[in-house]
């Protein structure tokens, strides 16, 4: 590897831009995980399958209906909310009973995930679908002349949509009545119920928000890699979980920061390590493992709930 390339500021900047936009998608995806974990203390392993269905929903709206991108984003988020609410009714709510095993909801979400992916394979086949090229202007923005940074419109959109979503989620959780109820339910379902909060409807709200975030991530990743197929959830699922653990289970700030950190690390692995492109998929696992070894509560997490 050429050493001058390593130190070249444009190359470095380019990788930062790429890593940032990649990481923004991971963050949006991971927020859905962390929201459900924060409230129900379970990992929804069907989140990635939800996201895959959303990407297909967006693709259908863009191609079959020929509608513009903003509508596709909305449709995809709506589809995500719908799937997640369905999951809550079929896979999670029946298990929220006295003396139920903590692992049970995770197991049922694994079953749901397998069903969702298999049905998608049956419906869409296993070949890759792509967004129509007319969706976005394919010419990148050049910053600093033709030799400078190349920023695609997709990247601009991804980062800005992600920022808007994260900010609105933060506002929703911290400033609204429902957000406050959500935090109360996260702290104690029993106490919330006694205080007159409709716990089931709050959990339903959380699932629809998490699903909508999966929907947004589905469209964004479609823009980023333009690669839509039934198995796409598997590629992002582990990354999402690594992000959630890196940031701290249940922490919103953690998911945002963790996603960006993972995106940047992955991009740099590809850019700076010889053969990095081949094992970029292992980076998330290694990072996950390292965090569990060194700081299992994550960057923003609390220690008490981690130990056995």
């Amino acid at each position: 590897m050429d050493l001058t390339l390593l130190l070249d500021p444009t190359y470095l900047g380019q990788n930062l831009v790429d890593g940032l936009s990649r990481g923004a998608v991971y963050s949006v995806f991971a927020l859905g995980f962390t929201l459900i974990f924060g409230i129900l203390d379970i990992v929804n392993l069907a989140h990635a399958a939800t996201y895959m269905w959303c990407a297909f929903a967006g693709w259908l709206v863009l191609t079959s209906l020929g509608l513009p991108l903003p509508l596709a984003l909305l449709a995809s988020m709506a589809a995500g909310a719908l799937v997640a609410v369905g999951l809550e009714f079929l896979a999670f709510r029946p298990l929220r009973r006295e003396g139920s095993d903590r692992l049970a909801p995770m197991i049922s979400s694994i079953g749901a995930s397998l069903i969702l992916v298999s049905v998608a394979e049956a419906v869409f086949g296993s070949q890759t679908r792509r967004f129509p090229s007319s969706v976005l202007d394919p010419h990148p923005l050049l910053i600093g002349g033709p030799e400078g940074l190349r920023v695609t419109w997709a990247q601009v959109l991804i980062v800005s949509i992600s920022l808007v979503l994260m900010a609105s989620l933060g506002w929703f959780i911290r400033r609204t009545r429902t957000g406050m109820a959500l935090r109360a339910v996260a702290a104690s379902q029993k106490a919330s119920r006694l205080l007159g909060i409709n716990v089931n409807s709050i959990i339903l709200t959380a699932f629809s928000v998490a699903g909508a975030l999966a929907g947004a991530a589905g469209i964004l990743v479609g823009l980023l890699t333009n690669n839509i197929f039934p198995g796409m959830g598997g590629q992002v699922e582990l990354r999402g979980l690594a992000v959630v653990i890196l940031g701290g289970m249940g922490s919103i700030e953690g998911a945002v920061v963790g996603g960006i950190v993972l995106g940047v690390i992955e991009t740099f692995t590809i850019a700076y390590l010889p053969g990095g492109a081949d094992f970029k998929d292992a980076v998330a696992f290694l990072l996950l493992f390292l965090i569990l070894l060194v700081r299992p509560q994550g960057l923003f997490g609390q220690k008490s709930s981690v130990r056995a």
Binding site: L103, I107, P296, A308
Partner: protein, 591 residues
């Protein structure tokens, strides 16, 4: 549920699965190996689920086993028989490396950490084509290993599976099996019985990896070619679905689950598909069925098929004669009497998020004395017991046991050192019988292990008989022997409290911590309990009692410590403390 005769159900279920699978094999005898390999894989998932762990690493370990053996046989001309232990050993080592850090954490983390494991294994396979043949891989039939491969015949699989089943049958009746059942029902209570939680979890995870690795070896040498995509997430979920459908409560479960889910989709496709064109080409059918099996079982039949059959592992039956025998003396363990101070609490502070549950509490418990710990609700009494037994770590301060610091030890070590306890909120192993609960309490004192049970060594029988007799003595002593065979959850509140005391005494502790032992008992029962506690005291046992029944406290205790809002407000002999104005105020309020 309880009154069902399990045997009829078990025979019924087994018969259904056997018929289903015979029909399935009749249609294609070549599927026999696949059925057996799925049964092995199901057992590997069962081992972790039984220990209440959710692992998705089985497919990855299967791949490691398959590739390791294939490489050894094809590249290094090892005999198959030698490659099996080597491949399995590699799986065990990898499991140890992953398990050590992850299994110390809360149970959610194993699922997350193992989720990507199959993917990493796939990457390693793809990146080393010289060894593995790349993504679609090693075709074993091209090497001269072909002849060897054909020797890996079904009888080996049958023999291996048979051996495993033997191991499981023996284990379920052993001390180890009991400990796993206790962990499954209540990990934290199990650890205060002296069961090393993390070690058992790591053991289960490694055992699961070994079995999955062996399944991989057989898979490689019966299928004859390896494809890296065969060991991914879908496979992991399929393996999980066999174990979940069958049930994680009994070793028969995974075998039933694998039997149903291997045969059903194929039969549906071939037999029902004869009438429905669409079904014949529906390649996603097995996965959808497995997914449905997972969801439906978890929601409607959480214990799986074996729960339907009323099967639980290693239920111990005792003859009426044994139960009605004369009562023996209470087993207590006064220990060598050289140290006078058994327990010393120094400047103990515990804060939960800025709130001090205990602040600078300190007292001493001399050997043979009975200390009463009293105070209003929320005073920190239970937190104190949790600190002493290793369930809560103090923020500052020390706990000394015979002069040695114990506040950083894990709960099971403290129990082994001789500290037994009962719980304010009853923490019995509800599905296990009263007798089993008490025998679990004796766990660290029983000197057997898996090897003694598998090899039928004389010590196994001797120790088990001794444990049974000691447990029956304790039950008799507490007037519980007529309830010995009943699942603990079905007992009345007062009886459950006494079972907890019997279970704690089974440890033969030097110090017994009783957290509200008389709660929920009426006057007569409380008086009987007081008499019993005095008996224990006379036998030399040291006691710390938290209690609100003041008559019991005044009758039994030598010293009192009064806590309020986490602070010691009074201590000394019961008469003086009861008259202390601060104590009266804490209990009754100021005028």
């Amino acid at each position: 549920m309880r009154n069902k005769t399990p045997s009829a159900w078990v025979f019924g279920l087994v018969a259904i699965v056997v018929v289903l699978d015979s029909f399935f094999l009749y249609r294609n005898p070549a599927d026999f190996d696949r059925l057996l390999i799925n049964a092995l894989l199901a057992l590997s998932a069962f081992v972790t689920l039984h220990a209440r762990l959710l692992s998705l690493a089985n497919a990855g370990f299967m791949a490691i086993g398959a590739y390791t053996s294939a490489i050894l046989v094809v590249k290094f001309s090892w005999p198959l028989a030698a490659s099996l232990p080597a491949a399995v050993l590699v799986c065990g080592l990898v499991a140890l490396i992953i398990g050590l850090p992850v299994l110390k954490l809360n149970d959610v983390y194993l699922a997350v950490a193992t989720l990507g494991f199959g993917e990493v294994v796939r990457i390693v396979i793809v990146l080393n084509p010289d060894w593995t043949g790349g993504p679609t891989g090693a075709n074993l039939s091209t090497g001269f290993a072909y002849a060897l491969m054909k020797q890996a015949q079904s009888w080996m699989l049958v023999a291996f599976l048979g051996l495993l089943v033997y191991f499981f049958v023996r284990m379920s009746r052993s001390r180890t099996g009991r400990a796993f059942r206790a962990i499954r029902e209540n990990p934290s209570a199990a650890s205060t019985m002296g069961i090393p939680l993390v070690r058992y979890r790591i053991g289960a995870f490694i055992a699961s990896a070994l079995i999955a690795g062996a399944a991989g070896v057989f898979y490689a040498h019966t299928v004859g070619s390896l494809d890296s995509t065969d060991f991914q997430f879908g496979r992991a979920v399929n393996i999980l679905s066999y174990a979940v459908l069958g049930g994680a409560g009994h070793w028969l479960g995974p075998l039933l689950g694998a039997g149903v889910l291997t045969a059903l989709p194929v039969l549906l496709r071939d037999v029902v598909g004869a009438w429905f064109e669409g079904l014949r080409n529906f390649v996603q059918l097995p996965n959808i069925l497995n997914g449905l099996a997972l969801m439906l079982t978890i929601v409607f039949l959480p214990g799986g098929l074996v729960a339907l059959a009323g099967l639980r592992r290693g239920r111990r039956t005792v003859s009426e004669a044994a139960l009605s025998r004369e009562k023996g003396p209470v087993a207590t363990n006064p220990g060598p009497s050289k140290e006078d101070l058994l327990l010393v609490i120094q400047d103990l502070t515990v804060s939960f998020g800025g709130l001090n549950a205990l602040s600078q509490v300190g007292f001493e418990v001399p050997r043979g004395r009975v200390l009463g710990l009293i105070g209003p609700n929320g005073a920190g009494k239970t937190t104190l017991v949790n600190v002493i037994t290793g369930l809560v770590r103090p923020t500052t301060g020390r706990v000394l046991w015979k002069g040695r610091e114990i506040h950083r030890l894990s709960a099971h070590r403290i129990a082994v050192a001789g500290v037994g306890r009962t719980y304010q909120n009853i923490q019995l192993f509800g599905e296990m019988t009263v007798l089993e609960n008490v025998i679990v309490g004796r766990h660290p004192r029983i000197r057997t292990n898996l090897a003694t049970s598998w090899l039928w060594l004389p010590v196994e029988r001797r120790e088990e008989t001794k444990a049974l007799e000691k447990a029956l003595d304790l039950l008799r002593e507490l007037g519980l022997s007529h309830l010995a065979q009943i699942p603990a959850a079905q007992l009345s509140y007062g009886d459950q409290r006494r079972v907890e005391i019997a279970r704690a005494l089974a440890l033969e502790p030097e110090l017994l911590l009783l957290d509200e032992p008389a709660a929920g008992m009426n006057e007569v029962e409380t008086a009987r309990l007081s008499a019993f506690l005095l008996d224990l005291k006379r036998a030399g046992l040291t006691l710390v009692i938290i209690e609100h029944h003041m008559d019991l406290i005044m009758k039994v205790c030598d010293d009192l410590v009064v806590l309020n809002f986490g602070r010691t407000i009074a201590s000394g002999d019961p008469e003086t403390v009861a008259r202390d104005p601060l104590v009266v105020e804490a209990y009754l309020g100021r005028d």
